[in-house]
Symmetry: C2
Subunit: 395 residues, 2 copies
Amino acid sequence: MTTSFARRMSRVQPSAIRELLQLGDNPNVISFGGGYPDATLFPYEELCAAAQTALVEDGAASLQYTSSSGTPQLRAQIAARMTRQGTPCRADDVLILHGGQQGLDLVAKLFLNPGDVVITENPTFLGALIAFNPCEPNYVAIGMDDDGMDMNQLEQALIATPNAKLIYTVPDFHNPTGVTMSLARRHELIGLANRFNLIILEDTPYREIRFAGESLPTLKSLDTEDRVIYLGTFSKILAPALRIGWTVASPAITHQLGLLKLAADTQCSTLNMKIISLFLEQNDIEAHIGQLRDAYRRKCDVMLRTMAESFPDTVTWTKPNGGLFTWLTFPVGFDAADFMRNQLLPHASVAYVPGAPFFAVNPVPNHARVNYSSQSDSRIVQGITAMGALLKNPR
Amino acid sequence: MTTSFARRMSRVQPSAIRELLQLGDNPNVISFGGGYPDATLFPYEELCAAAQTALVEDGAASLQYTSSSGTPQLRAQIAARMTRQGTPCRADDVLILHGGQQGLDLVAKLFLNPGDVVITENPTFLGALIAFNPCEPNYVAIGMDDDGMDMNQLEQALIATPNAKLIYTVPDFHNPTGVTMSLARRHELIGLANRFNLIILEDTPYREIRFAGESLPTLKSLDTEDRVIYLGTFSKILAPALRIGWTVASPAITHQLGLLKLAADTQCSTLNMKIISLFLEQNDIEAHIGQLRDAYRRKCDVMLRTMAESFPDTVTWTKPNGGLFTWLTFPVGFDAADFMRNQLLPHASVAYVPGAPFFAVNPVPNHARVNYSSQSDSRIVQGITAMGALLKNPR
């Protein structure tokens, strides 16, 4: 009875991923594995005040069912903020989702039939792969450099792949590599999507965590033919536990995603939407994000400096201008999953995410994704130093 | 690009359903349409106290990511309560979901390939149909009487339908009819599922809202071959806006549903799971549910009495022992959707759900689902009286 399940889930091992993410809950492990934001930076008092207001002053409206597309107030607030930030849209263009991950699931349901091709960066976010897999697509993975996805390689791939439907990209502080797509590449990507009649899914969880350089326009703001579905979330800029994300797309796509949202889980938590609306009303979220940027800049510096001091010369890493991750490249022949299992976890109680599951096709074993947002400065130094020692002298 | 979408969504019109449900938000309409619980009965102070505790005393743990399967505490609380209520299970058998609706989506993803047959009651919950439809199943709908699904008809259907995979049932206070499956039928259903190698999805949102008669064993408690997936929710017994439901199933199915949950939306709201756990710790939920039963018994009585006083003799309705709905049967030839659109809404500002979308195959036009939980007693009398007047003398 589970044949179809096995086939659908076979490309990645979500079991292994789930076990790995659970390391984040183990206080004895210094985990650089998950995409956890720093819990000491959550705006507790402000969110608590918002929850109080929601429940005491507006109780029925916070605890009852509401519109499946999200509360009109939150949709309007998100649209106004995105418009201010250079991506003009209306409240009706915003669909509230249960975290960004739900957008991956619904977009796959809307566009993908078995055998359709999804274009991804190589590597790409493994959570997107496990969301897409139940629709049984095939993948074509496009190489990256310091400016993001290689557009010449993409063009060749699109010429060779007539059944490509969707381009999935994390243009800002890419997961797992931390790389940002250049402005020129963004324009090229829009042009190729127009030419080859493709949908672009622009996943932006880390976009606002920029701590160096200038912000670049969203793909959605460069979209000339309503082909871009923008996917945003409050998980990294406010608190992941509220599970509130959103899409901005054309009216036709928003309508259809809305019907799939209704079918998938009726609506998001009215209370959590209210809490975010009240937080946005009563506080300056831009100031809060400014604090996150400062903290994550410092943490990234601490981590990269410690790597430079501790790691052998044979290991390299990306230098992100924002986001939560750096991407390690070990020497060819090195197995990052094996090293974590047999060296790093047992001898240093340190974890990362081995890189192989981030490759949609042809897993490459000598990489790891390392998160610098979730651990304290001292634990970053402690964990990276211990890792460096084991890399130099495995037991 | 949306051909597959149109095909997948074609069987019901979720657009029309969404518009209808939005009538529930219009204070000028007396809507008997949605499945809204009575907002005046929400335990505001207790939920507010729980939210305060969650955010103030346990902030980081309430706002950060947690296990994709749900917090261990809530899983244990649900397992203990279900075991006390006669459905023995362990915390590991409980998977926390984003409302009961998500269970419909994930079970469909796990078991259904295009063309597989889902057995439903006739009529059935339209929300289940829109959740199943993206997997493109076919449906076989089994007639009901006052004891629930007709088991002779089911047996004949299963003999004739070798590709049946799943039986979907709402055994307690069925949506939309309000009927409860008898104990004898429950045993027969388990026997047929064993004989024909089928999964049973037991959807129980109204089970605890029993205000007459004795509670019957769950199908899960009668399950002899790990074929039943029990689907529960806090939406009707606590507050729908928290969006917390759960499944209880075999370890193998729970594992696979858990991976699909991770892929679909990462996890439920940590805050909302904490709020429910704290509510269950600090309060007597059974006493709270007792108050709901008393209130809904009274409301059901008010509605059925007003119908008896106001409706023409040609209209009949079910007499539920619990739940939120009664099911109207109008004379053959009567179009309930047309009557609502052209008579009830414009001339009385009253709404129900026309019955046709509840039929998985061969929609029957002369029914309506009427909810008695969401409106006040006086608005029930006002709305039903006005509806009776229009039924007797259409404008």
